[in-house]
């Protein structure tokens, strides 16, 4: 069997998801037994005209990004959005809450008008091209990435988990963060992370976006029940660009 060719690309983001690929460490060698990594700026100097699987990290913020992404889509058989920025905009979407000019001035000061800072509205990868799979998280879970890759190589279609973080949190036997008087986004946030944050004593930040059908009405009622405000919840949700 010919090894599938994998290419990894990055757009607006912190490259933390790519770092998670590097963090596979020994597993990287096993990965390379199974796939050929043909293009990866962070890990290799090679370039390739075409590939089977494209892993795309980051949000799409500039017109040239849109064109580049469309070219990647055309060259890839399977396109996987990697991480919160690629999947739903991630922290980049915070900028959407401000006037674009104001945001640029805050960040770049006097240089805000430079042509190379041609930022436009922030888009997730699937707002620009079709996406075959999403690996959620900020950053991604390297084990989830490796199982998605194995599944793709075997010819399966990786399924994005559609259950809330509570499921894995209960399986882990954790005490509910609400019992601790905290706001936790777990009940409406897509699981698959193994409830990592609650298991380590933090509330869920919602980095994996919401489940397909979050019950917003119920979430509001819960806040009321625990003496919290909707604004507190919205601020939490905004962090990772949840929609």
């Amino acid at each position: 069997m010919k090894k599938p060719r994998v290419a990894i690309f990055d757009f607006a983001g912190c490259e933390g998801c790519q770092l998670q690929i590097v963090n596979l460490e020994e597993e990287l060698l096993s990965l390379l037994e199974v796939v050929d990594v043909v293009e990866w700026r962070e890990g290799s100097s090679e370039k390739s005209p075409e590939f089977d699987i494209a892993l795309v990290e980051g949000a799409i913020t500039r017109p040239q990004d849109v064109r580049r992404l469309e070219q990647i889509r055309a060259r890839a058989k399977v396109l996987v959005a990697l991480g919160a920025c690629a999947s739903h905009g991630g922290v980049n979407k915070l900028r959407q809450r401000l006037d674009l000019g104001a945001a640029k001035r805050i960040v770049y000061g006097a240089s805000a008008r430079e042509a190379f800072l041609g930022s436009g509205p922030v888009q997730s990868v699937d707002e620009v091209v079709s996406v075959d799979a999403r690996i959620e998280g900020c950053p991604i879970d390297s084990q989830e990435l490796s199982s998605v890759l194995r599944s793709l190589v075997l010819g399966g279609e990786p399924k994005t988990p559609n259950f809330p973080v509570c499921v894995e949190c209960k399986r882990a036997g954790n005490v509910c963060r609400y019992e601790r008087g905290e706001i936790c986004l777990g009940p409406v946030t897509r699981g698959g992370c193994g409830a990592r944050c609650p298991s380590y004593g933090m509330w869920c930040y919602g980095c994996r976006g919401s489940v397909d059908e979050p019950n917003i009405h119920a979430a509001r009622a819960v806040l009321e029940r625990y003496g919290k405000t909707v604004q507190e919840l919205e601020e939490r949700l905004a962090l990772f660009g949840s929609r």
Binding site: S30, L154, G155, P187, A218, A219
Partner: protein
Amino acid sequence: MRVIKVEETQIASWTRTLLAQQRVVAVQERDERFVFDDLHQAEDLRLDHDVTLQPPLRHFLPEREELVSFDRPDRYAPVEPDDRPFVLLGVHPYDVAAICQMDAVFAAGVPDPHYNRRRALATVVACDVETPSGNVFAGAMGTAVVEDGYDVLLTRIGRQYLVESRTAKGDGLLALFGDDVEDALPSDLRRREAVWRRNRQGLRQHALACPPQALPRLLALSYNDELWQERSEYCLSCGACNLVCPTCYCFDVQDVVGWDLKSGRRLRLCDSCMLEDFAKVAGGHQFRLRRDRYRHRFYRKGLYTPERFGFVACVGCGRCIDSCIAGVASPVDVYNTLLERHPEALEEPREGAGARSLGQALASLLGRESAEEAASAAREPVLTLRPRCEAEEPRLALAKAATDALEVEQLVAKDPYVPGQAKILAKRALTNHETLYRLCLDAERKLGHKSGQFVQISLMGIGEAPISVSSGPDDGPSFEIVVRRVGNVTEALERLHPGDTVGVRGPYGTAFPLADLRGKDILVVAGGIGIVPVRSAIQEVLWHRGDYGRLTIAYGMRAPQDRLFGEEIEAWQKEPGVTVLETVDHLEGLWHGQVGPVTTLLPSCGIDPPTTAALVCGPPVMYRYVLADLIAAGMEAGDIYVSLERKMKCGIGKCGHCQINGVYVCQEGPVFTYAQVKNLPEALQ
């Protein structure tokens, strides 16, 4: 049975002795709450806990466990079990009751070897409640105190404990206290009675306004109550209530494969019927919306399980109330509100009262008149909260087997979760979406299926999917399946070729009772890929042509290019007494036949109700219309057979995914008579 009296300090030294001898899973404090976990030092044991976060069930049905180990593509083996005996220490009476219930569930039908093996290895040391939890209502459910189901029972009286042994295993544990222990005096036993009285009264943080035995009747009256919609609007569908419940046992199955892309494990994980995808099938059809999922949990506890096993599957531990941040999980709250709206539930049931139709529909499907009869079948005088632990036989067999290597081998050879192998003999594309495979089990073993049954097809590392057998039962050592590419397994199957191997479990489920239909006219009504399962019956009827009257096939499909078995249909039509009528929903391409839904064919079928049996299979939306027309044509509901598709996963009535109300489609279905399912609201939505 022996009851001794020991000092508190002796419990600690006894625990140390236990620890030196075997694995001890005991109640300990963690994060200011309590958990059952491996005990490392006797000092960590707590017997004054209020309630544990997770029920002790997790030590028999872990949140995650390996079911099958495999080497792709064609080697499957049972996993090496952990055969260490262990003591489960500190189990409250309500959890003992729940364990007894789960014993009944996992011993029923095809016993689950994984649960039963662990159960056989366990010695259960119960302890009476010293500190009631904030939401416990075991007193209201009759489970505040238990009289059996444990091996040892500890009861604190003052600064001493009474230790009762109930079984031979318990006697062994009692002996570890040494020879110079005192037997309990009658006065000690009276003090224990006082503890029990206190707990029966005290473990009632919530008061249930009816005896638990009235719950099945209450729920039978309340199916369409507005409460389900009202409360479900506050339900997050997060699954917390199920995942902490000592009587929730539904599970999901997933494959993981290593970097060699060959070796892997099939896992099962605790699942929750509250989750959005729980009852969603590969084609995407959602059989239960949020309201229906919310209602389903209460019905499983208070109606479906009583009808099937004779016990109410809620023991009043209060964990669901503790864990529901939305505050809508409380069974007491729901039942009491329903009681206010349906006070007639407390009256003696009248003869022929229509309100019980849902319960009766389920009971009759299970071959019983009522929950009371289910209880008596379980050799209990009345509906009970706690079956006696009569799941002993399979458990004892397993316990014995666990100590006998040869028998273990035989036992695991029968592990119902391990697939057999089948080779693909032939593969033929029927349309752009559907492919026919002819499969042969290894060693040319005959599948031995009946028309209408299904198998579970496994591609290790990808997963498992329920697929109807599409060929008749007399078809030699091989059989045929037709697969529409709608999910992971079916897509991956498409990439296999003749000579490749797949895993097969089954056959499962009920069949069209063709032997009983001899002499009748057979009317087949099929919509879309509904023709696939009924083709087995058509073939069987054709092979025994003289035994049946007219065979009429009404086949509706979306468009001409979706037509399956085209050449066969031409051949069927040439058989004497066979009529095939076809229609398409949309006229695309070349088509000379009828246009319209499959019901437009029925007037031309010449139905003669008294002599006709109808076999109906199609997409969910089709049934309502076809069944209404058949009844309008004068047919009896008992003469109409339907084949219903749900998300069958385990195939042996355990995982819960395929339920229609309280019916397991993999057990009581997929073939039902219309009479059986017409009062099951989830059957033909």
